[in-house]
Subunit: 159 residues, 2 copies
């Protein structure tokens, strides 16, 4: 049975997304891209751009599940708070369509892809290239979204 | 000309809301309440409860504008991050219906109501009672939402 996964790497400036099909051991790259809310818009409208963008993705690709990273409070709590808003705008768009949202800690995503929770970006990119050669992400946010979707397929494959 | 304002005090446990009509010097209490997402639900579904609740309020009351407090990073950045998610779920519901969202710093709300940016809760409750005697908020979140809506009418009355 094929399962379609939407991976999201949220952000107020760039929200990366990727769609992957998975069936047993096989995975197929479907599409990926970035939602770019105009920086000249008021904050509320930038959040709505993310919400509408992700809603449209759900409409277009009908994913069965969604995978998203858990945000941790980092050195800059203000930036984290803004990221939390962007993340919620994406989550609400998915969950409002009754699509289950799976949230993963960053090290769990790294481990699911490479076997190491502290793998660096190059190791992750390499694994993505091996597992999904058709994916040619043009930006870091798109690449992260592909990795987040892929990690989810790795984690649920054995459940 | 009468303007209808929706005030929101967001929170993952309780999201207070209040609807007020304003025309010149007069203000009229319309309704208020609290959205209570079930704590047993997954995080994404709790956010969706807020989103759907606020969407329904917009549908029922057709507000012209929305007033919401700006969240600051406090002593507990983790709690602030969760609040940011709840806040975004409410903002997206309003802005998705093309209703303008006005964001105010907490001290601006206090000042608009009492004249003092550091007014305590009792002083604010007193002013709300004077300006809007019909409002009888049953909870602190509902009272805060009434104050947030009222403060907005005070701030925009002279623009």
């Amino acid at each position: 049975m094929t399962k379609r996964v939407l991976g999201i790497d949220p952000g107020l400036l760039h929200t990366g997304w990727a769609v992957i099909d998975t069936a047993g051991q096989t995975r197929k790259y479907i599409a990926s891209g970035v939602i770019l809310p105009k920086t000249t818009l008021p904050f509320a409208e930038r959040l709505v751009t993310i919400f509408r963008g992700v809603s449209e993705l759900c409409e277009t690709f009908s994913p069965d599940e969604c995978s998203i990273e858990i945000t941790f409070v980092n050195k800059n709590p203000k930036t984290t708070l803004i990221l939390g808003h962007a993340r919620a705008a994406a989550i609400v768009a998915v969950a409002n369509r009754n699509i289950p949202v799976f949230e993963y800690e960053p090290n769990k995503i790294k481990k699911a892809l490479t076997g190491a929770g502290h793998a660096d970006k190059t190791a992750i990119d390499k694994m993505v290239q091996i597992l999904l050669p058709a994916a040619r992400p043009k930006t870091a946010d798109e690449a992260d979204a592909v990795a987040i979707a892929l990690a989810h397929t790795n984690m649920t494959r054995f459940i």
